[in-house]
């Protein structure tokens, strides 16, 4: 459920008796099987989502900056790496860039930075590269293994010099997965600084030793190896450092997050 879809339950005045009544209603409807209202109830959703915060806190406590996602051997690479979500963006600006092999593509890095950047693919390829063979875990349940080559996001951020109050890195993309023909229906994602500065978090321009193909996010996608696939934005257009993602589009911090998925996708 998105924030925009939230029903009247949230506005009907919360008090202790209301909470208890809803708790009773929750058990009652669950037992009777009349679950539709329960599943779409805003309060129920907030209670359930509180487990995400617990999961994130525990995982962040267990993970050190050095905790790496497993890296695999070349023979483990999947021949059938699945492309999901947008696989061939049809937005006019993207088509134009693709026609010219992304020679005119530029990555802008802005927001809460001292030095806003505009980088071409050549610029990115000129920076120190990292290659990693990792497992891509989709929220749907499947996994594929691929080799990714790119520049560590930390190097780009260091070059732009984050301001003190920057807390999240937001990726804006070219693909209109929401099919709304507006800026707001395009894909976007955000990650926190511990993930942005993780050594395996790279802006990948190559996949399996070849130029990143369009189904997998050409010309540039991010790899966030300790989380699920939907965090790893494809078709990146710009990167913005922000203090909070509350005021960006649906406020969930990402395209799928605005549609009910958890922002923290380490599970």
């Amino acid at each position: 459920m998105t924030k925009r879809e939230s029903n009247g339950a949230a506005n009907s005045g919360m008090n202790r008796r209301g909470f208890l009544a809803r708790g009773g209603a929750l058990s009652g409807t669950l037992l009777l099987g009349g679950c539709d209202g329960l599943f779409r109830n805003d309060l129920v959703q907030r209670i359930l989502a509180s487990a995400d915060s617990l999961t994130e806190a525990v995982q962040r406590a267990l993970l050190t900056p050095e905790s790496l996602a497993r890296e695999y051997a070349p023979e483990d690479i999947s021949a059938d790496f699945k492309a999901n979500g947008s696989i061939n963006p049809d937005t006019p600006d993207y088509r134009k860039l693709a026609e010219n092999d992304f020679k005119d593509w530029r990555l802008t890095v802005g927001g809460l930075v001292e030095t806003p950047l505009t980088l071409s693919l050549e610029d990115l390829r000129g920076m120190p590269a990292r290659s990693q063979i990792t497992r891509h875990d989709c929220v749907e349940g499947w996994s594929s293994i691929g080799k990714w080559t790119g520049v560590q996001l930390s190097r780009v951020l260091d070059q732009a010099k984050l301001k003190e109050n920057a807390k999240y890195i937001v990726f804006y993309c070219y693909d209109d997965l929401g099919r709304g023909d507006t800026e707001a229906s395009r894909y976007y994602e955000s990650i926190a600084l511990p993930d942005a500065y993780h050594p395996q978090t790279i802006l990948a321009y190559d996949m399996n030793d070849e130029t990143l193909p369009i189904p997998h996010g050409a010309p540039l996608r991010v790899r966030v190896e300790r989380q699920l696939g939907y965090k790893m934005a494809k078709y990146i257009r710009s990167i913005e450092a922000v203090e909070s993602y509350d005021d960006i589009r649906g406020g969930g911090g990402g395209f799928w997050e605005d549609r009910g998925y958890a922002w923290y996708a380490g599970i």
Binding site: M1, C35, D36, F39, Q45, I47, L48, A49, S50, A51, D52, L54, T55, Q59, L62, L63, S67, L68, A69, R70, Y72, D76, S78, D80, K82, R135, D137, C138, V139, E140, G141, W142, S143, S144, I145, E225, R226, Q227, L228, W256, R259, G260, Y261, A262, G266, I267
Partner: protein, 275 residues
Amino acid sequence: MAGKEFIYRHSGWVRSTHWINVLALLVLLMSGMQIFNAHPALYFGSASTFDDPAVAMTYEQTDDGYRGVTKIFGESYDTTGWLGGGVDEDGEFTRYGFPWSITLPDFRSLALGRHWHFFFAWVFVINGLIYLIYAITSGHLKRDLTPDGKEMRGIGHSIVEHAKFRFDHEERGYNVLQKLSYLIVILLLLPLMLGTGLTMSPGMDAAFPWLLDIFGGRQSARTIHFISASLIVLFVVVHVFMVLVSGVWNNLRSMVTGRYAVDTKAPAPAEEAAE
């Protein structure tokens, strides 16, 4: 003359953790099927081999229209209405793994299914830890659930008796097969659910990479998670059946109030018989 007497069979800790576990496992099973429906296929190893799944629930178009099909190691079975797909209320063929009527929520929503699953996974873990700490420190695990040598030697006899539907359950304690099945669920299947569940988390895999080695890769962990859940369902079916045939009200009362009626040789004290 023989009468009835009440013994205190289940402690408050066992009773409360039992029922919380019932709720948690029910929600986990139903939301788990919702999550499974997002990609109703199973694989072994680290990654998915999409053309060669170990198990897949899918559909096929035949002369009779669409059919739900389940493929297990290359063999196809028609499972229309049960697995793979079936006709919904509006008479339309709907694709699924498990029917939406038994998933949580009861319409396609991976996002909501995951919220329910992970919330109740925490309930399950915290409740399970409380139970285990109680069971070990109180002696419940050793005293009530661990069979002794004599019981183990009588296991053949007990299997034969159960096969004949003669349940010679000792009234004050558990039968040897009962003890063993409880131990398998408590110490093997439920921890296996947690372990394989954590292995599906990319965050946990980075924190504890050995999880991947224990279960043979993320996709193997997902398959074991599925098999283990199926075995727990099988256990519940047998468990509920045994509760029904061995004195359902007495069993239920003892798991709610703790009090369990047993036959006694001597006449029961009046105030207890009045119960």
